[in-house]
Symmetry: C2
Subunit: 240 residues, 2 copies
């Protein structure tokens, strides 16, 4: 082993989509590091997270795309993360600094969690995580809906998992964020029709991007094909 | 009425405490606006949120502190917010732009919610909300604990409200953030002792500030006086 010290590894959240919602810390670190690894779709070779940092004008040669399938079968992705982890470690051992960038926050439904997992066999790697603005915060801000007041509770629930339990969640939580609603949207409409009491509902997709869409009449979306990056905010009005 | 257009009102989240976790958008708006209103404690005349934006070097004369009691009796604060709202509206009507800054995110347990409420009688006010990094994201990042992977659920629960229901929450949610744990800490220890299964627990206060404190052995805090800005992350390990 050489005496050269191992470089720093950063998990950097770049926020929900609007490049201005990148933090000052994320910007500083992305300018300072030697390499920026990022997840990339197979087809485009360019990714959503890459577009978020575009306005920072970082040198093109600094980016190292890691191709992921993002399919239901996670085995391919698991291999991709392991390969990325060894590439990252190789750079760190040469004293280079490396950032992995993710949309939103690195610990909140992000690819960073898988990279971090893949880095476990390398205990010498020091990881610093830079939190980011989440898509849930950005969605609520876009429509001005309170998330939590005083002693209120908040739940974040991937929709596919939570439809059956939704009425019970709405009894206990003032705000429920349903993520990835695209696959269960008509089922969601049925559950909402059966729930008593006033509930404010808003559907949002790709908040803070040019493709942003905000719909308050959920019925109007019945039967439509909805994208993956979609969420619904459910806000009970009991305590207001 | 004059023809002068009404100025813009911004609810600006400045993040959890580390000035570098201010977003580029928050920084731009705070530099651009004519006035920055902010909550301020009666004793110090200076506030936590004021210290977060200190490194931006904004002109001192731009700040307009609003004195709040932050007591259990909300009547005094309600009057303070109403007074602040009319001061804000008076400025906006003169075409001035105004920001209200809050720690963390404006819609997540923040003073902005009360100001926004107090502005309801003034429908001419256009409000833009700038989301910020939350204390929960910052706490998880500080200790590298995953918040949500794939289809996991997340709950945010003010501790005083949720102790009795905590075991049930831990069955349903992969990560539970307990806020304001100072008042119920010994009760929390008792509940945790009764819960089965591996749960990672971390106590954090004032994350990202010089007064930051991180404790993984919760037992060691028994009987201690804890501050208001404290939280506990509970992470079930079932799905890992």
């Amino acid at each position: 082993m050489s005496q050269k010290s191992v470089g720093a590894f950063y998990g950097v959240g770049v926020g929900p989509g609007d490049p201005e919602l990148i933090t000052r810390k994320a910007e500083r670190i992305l300018r300072a590091v030697d390499w920026i690894f990022l997840p990339s779709g197979r087809r485009s070779g360019n990714s959503f997270v890459r577009r978020i940092v575009e306005p920072l004008g970082l040198p093109e040669g600094k980016f190292r795309p890691v191709f992921l399938c993002m399919s239901r079968d996670r085995a391919d992705d698991s291999n991709a993360y392991s390969r990325a982890a060894s590439e990252i470690v190789a750079e760190l051992r040469q004293g280079k600094s490396v950032a992995w960038i993710t949309e939103g926050d690195p610990l909140f439904y992000s690819t960073f969690l898988h990279v971090n997992e893949a880095l476990r066999p390398y205990p010498e790697v020091r990881v610093e995580i830079i939190p980011g603005v989440t898509s849930t915060s950005a969605a609520a801000a876009r429509v001005g809906l309170p998330v939590a007041r005083l002693d209120e509770r908040v739940a974040v629930v991937p929709a596919a998992y939570g439809m059956r339990r939704l009425p019970a969640l709405l009894d206990e939580f003032a705000t429920v964020f349903l993520l990835k609603v695209h696959a269960v949207f008509d089922e969601l409409l049925a559950v909402l029709a059966s729930v008593r009491g006033p509930i404010r509902t808003v559907y949002l997709e790709q908040v803070g991007t040019p493709a942003e869409r905000v719909v308050t009449d959920l019925e109007s979306l019945r039967g439509q094909e909805l994208p993956y990056f979609s969420l619904v905010i459910l806000r009970t009005e009991k305590q207001e």
